[in-house]
């Protein structure tokens, strides 16, 4: 059998010129071909990373060293950092310094054929200044094959609205109603909400923001908490990051930017109670809107009862504001130097994007109190683009996945959860300007914002990932819920569609 005779270059394998160019193309300094595969390695670091991989291989080959199952891994995309950590873990006596987990990297846009962030839109419409388009991921279920006409009708109606052709939109929205009624399950419910949103937009019957209905909102949120794991995941992962940052601190202060019913804190209080060496003094500052002022005190009181029961010294303060933008550092009464501070935000920050400057205000306030950690959970979606039709399409896919995940035997929790989500859909579709508060943005967009705001990432690692996965298996039962790790952040999704993202931050101490 003939064998090929390859020409071997003295130093490297024969590669053609076009791929050589591709390798050399600077993508923020990262090797572009590896970026597409999910790894960020600077071309200038490649040889060094290769060398360390060799070292690791030799260490592991010795058969003496091994890595415990309990080793915690962080941010596998940062290959250089990951490899450094492994070397350190396997050779702790060596005089390497433990690598900084929060390795800095540039978040400039990655050009070329990178798989994410994805490329430009081709629809007409201006790009908003913060545009980073999502991939509009979609999971199609069997039922949706027959529901395709319904989806098309919805999109056609939205397009008519986009073009301000309200007569056509009116005809189409009625058509949608007809098609929806012949559907079943999640598809029907989602279509109904989106159709209602479109109808309100066409007829200008805008839904009011939650005035007078805030206690109802709270109730809905509790049902949402009970019926599906999204809030539980949000609380759990944020608490993990907070616990890790508190470490052995003797006095800790958590500032919750949206206390609601305080569902996140019993678990943290219990975890603190069980801390080896004893619990710290725990101080909670809960922020709420002026509509929920009375109930914030009650929530604080109940948490106090729990803390007492488990032996944790507890202090509570409530702050009532019209908007988070009004939060001033002095309101928080920080005890500088003596307490470890965590700022926590679950689904709160995106609302501030409705008012110009608000997000900058809150970030400034947060920076000025110098917290040890900031935990942020947000919907993983691009629902804040400037083009209505794009927002509509994105959110249709997003809520379809979300509603699919809720499908199951009927229960009051589920019905209320659907209503909870339905109100978000109505706001997203029917409202504009300052009324449109459901301005979800993606993890990539939030990362940019925090980075530019003077914060750096705190990586959430494999321990939290594993615990979150196991928690999901307990509560959710169905194997559709998936946790993913993305460059130090954790995302919870339904099937392959990430739906919420938890990230953690601290101040970028420059100079």
């Amino acid at each position: 059998m003939k064998r090929e005779h390859s020409h071997r270059e003295t130093s490297s394998v024969k590669v053609d010129s076009s791929s050589m160019t591709a390798n050399k193309e600077e993508a923020g300094g990262f090797d572009e071909l590896l970026v597409v595969l999910g790894y960020k390695v600077r071309s200038s670091d490649m040889a060094d990373v290769a060398h360390k991989l060799e070292q690791l291989e030799m260490v592991l080959d010795d058969g003496i060293s091994h890595l415990s199952d309990d080793t915690v891994h962080y941010n596998p995309s940062d290959l250089s950092g990951w490899v450094d950590s492994l070397l350190f873990d396997l050779n702790p006596t060596c005089d390497q310094v433990k690598p900084d987990q929060d390795s800095e990297y540039e978040l400039s846009a990655i050009p070329g054929s990178a798989a994410y962030p994805p490329g430009k839109r081709t629809r007409t419409g201006s790009d908003s200044p913060t545009t980073t388009t999502t991939t509009r991921s979609m999971v199609v279920l069997d039922s949706q094959e027959t529901g395709v006409r319904l989806v098309h009708a919805l999109l056609a109606c939205a397009e008519a609205v986009q073009q301000n052709n309200l007569k056509l939109a009116d005809v189409l929205v009625k058509h949608v109603g007809l098609l929806a009624s012949s559907q079943a399950g999640a598809m029907r419910k989602v279509a109904t909400y989106f159709a209602e949103g479109l109808a309100r937009r066409i007829y200008r019957i805008y839904p009011h923001d939650d005035v007078g209905l805030s206690s109802f909102s709270d109730t809905l949120q509790i049902h949402f908490y009970e019926s599906c794991p999204y809030l539980k995941f949000a609380h759990f992962t944020a608490n993990q990051a907070i616990l890790e940052s508190f470490a052995t601190a003797e006095k800790v202060h958590v500032i919750d930017l949206g206390l609601n019913q305080g569902l996140q804190w019993p678990a943290l209080i219990q975890a603190l109670a069980l801390r080896p060496g004893g619990p710290p003094d725990f101080r909670l500052t809960g922020i709420g809107s002026s509509l929920t002022g009375q109930s914030i005190q009650e929530v604080g009181w109940k948490l106090g009862q729990l803390a007492n029961a488990v032996g944790v010294n507890f202090e509570f303060k409530s702050i009532v504001l019209n908007s988070l933008s009004d939060l001033k550092p002095e309101m928080l009464e920080i005890r500088t130097g003596s307490e470890s501070i965590a700022v926590n935000s679950v689904f709160e920050l995106h609302r501030l994007l409705a008012h110009p400057g608000s997000i900058d205000n809150i970030l400034f306030t947060i920076k000025s109190i110098k917290p040890d950690i900031i935990t942020v959970v947000e919907q993983e979606a691009d629902h804040n683009g400037s083009v209505f039709l794009d927002r509509f399409t994105e959110s249709l896919h997003y809520y379809s996945s979300l509603f699919d995940s809720l499908e199951g035997p009927p229960s009051q929790d589920r019905v209320m959860s659907e209503l909870y989500l339905g109100r978000q859909i109505l706001n997203l579709v029917a409202c504009e300007g300052e009324d449109r508060v459901e301005r979800h943005e993606t993890l990539v967009q939030w990362r940019n914002r925090f980075s530019m705001g003077g914060f750096k990432p705190v990586n959430i690692g494999s321990y939290a990932y594993k615990q979150a996965s196991m928690l999901l298996a307990l509560y959710a039962g169905a194997d559709g819920y998936k946790v993913e790790e993305h460059e130090g952040c954790l995302l919870l999704g339904w099937q392959t569609r990430p739906l919420i993202a938890t990230s953690a931050w601290r101040l970028n101490r420059v100079g």
Binding site: S12, R123, M138
Partner: protein, 361 residues
């Protein structure tokens, strides 16, 4: 021992581009951490480390994708990721039309792709495989259906094969995967490593059950046997792969207590079945010259030839496993050229059964 290993590493680094070396070495290292000596697998850490990407209904570089969940099959929810060329009309970008065939005039081959990972690692939404499938669409002019089959050790033989079979039946029954004047779904089965093994076994079942598969594409397929072949001994530990790790994966996949002469591992071995008189599809088998499994792959090719089946062998002498993850080498280009020819040669079905042996230039 350390010195010999160091030689291995240096030699290996000379053969592949540096970024490819880093990528595959990274996998090798990670996989070593995940396999436990008792045969169990650290699945949580595996999923944590795996780089995943979402599908994109809005085209990127001429390809769009979406995920489909088939909950109709009896026991499992089978996820597949479908990759299609972007519609020429930009106003149709971002939506998925599941009511129309791919074409009513041209034949559009549909490649059912089974990702590799030695039956244990990776998923359809792993970045390495998502990227590879996208390249298949643009370079070879096919539609790709990537199957997220159940993996070992949690799901042993025959789970992956059953999932593959269900995927084949599902694909065959989709209106929107039909093409040509006769409105058929023109199916090829493809896979790398364990995926190649799955492709063979699904083709086997298709043959038995009368489902038409136009061809198989096996990219350094995972086969083995009890015997230690020359290539295994010669290349053990030299190019990312060891006999020891291969053994681990077979133990994890095969039914407990079975050895590597089980027909799933060794299809033409002592317990294998002959394909004589069977209407098995034509095959393109790609063998990497630096893969220690090659003797088993070449034996597979011989096994097909012996019973008169059409096999194209593409032997890439200087290629290591995983050469196709990055498009920065000639082997990649060669593979794509051959693959493209293979899936667009529908009329060649009636040609003689001789097996041209193709080599890298």
């Amino acid at each position: 021992m350390a010195a010999a290993n160091e030689d291995n590493l240096n030699e290996c680094k000379r053969i592949v581009p540096l970024n490819t070396w880093v990528l595959i070495s990274n996998f090798k290292l990670a996989y070593t951490l995940l396999r436990r000596p008792d045969g169990s697998f650290n699945r949580h850490l595996a999923e944590f480390l795996d780089r995943k990407v979402p599908p994109n209904s809005f085209p990127l570089d001429g390809v769009f994708s979406f995920d489909h969940l088939d909950s109709s099959s009896s026991s499992t929810n089978l996820l597949t990721r479908i990759y299609l060329p972007a519609p020429l009309d930009p106003s149709r970008h971002g939506t998925v039309d599941l009511t129309e065939p791919l074409s009513t005039t041209e034949i559009v081959p549909v490649l059912i792709f089974f990702h590799g990972g030695s039956f244990t690692h990776s998923s359809a939404n792993s970045a390495i495989y998502d990227t590879f499938c996208r390249r298949l669409v643009t370079i070879c002019g096919v539609v790709v259906v990537s199957v997220d089959y159940r993996r070992s050790p949690e799901h042993r033989y025959p789970c992956a094969y059953d999932d593959g079979w269900n995927a084949l039946r599902w694909v065959k029954s989709r209106i929107w995967l039909q093409s040509g004047k006769d409105s058929n779904v023109y199916v090829y089965l493809a896979g790398d490593s364990s995926g190649g093994n799955i492709a063979h076994n699904v083709a086997l079942r298709a043959t038995k059950e009368g489902v038409k598969v136009l061809g198989n594409i096996l990219l350094h397929p995972m086969f083995g046997g009890q015997e230690r072949t020359l290539s295994e001994k010669r290349l053990d530990g030299k190019y990312f792969v060891t006999i020891q790790d291969r053994d681990w994966y077979w133990r994890a996949f095969l039914p407990q207590g079975e050895d590597r002469d089980h027909p799933a591992c060794n299809p033409f071995g002592p317990r294998g079945q002959s394909l004589g008189g069977v209407n098995f599809p034509k095959s393109l088998v790609v063998v990497a010259g630096l893969d220690l499994v090659q003797d088993w792959q070449l034996a597979y090719v011989d096994g097909l030839k012996k019973t008169g089946h059409h096999v194209n062998l593409l032997y890439l002498e200087q290629a290591t496993i995983g050469f196709y993850f990055l498009p920065n080498n000639d082997h990649f280009r060669c593979l794509m050229d051959e693959l493209k020819k293979f899936v667009h040669s529908m009329e060649d079905d009636t040609l003689s059964k001789s097996s041209p042996i193709l080599l890298t230039p």
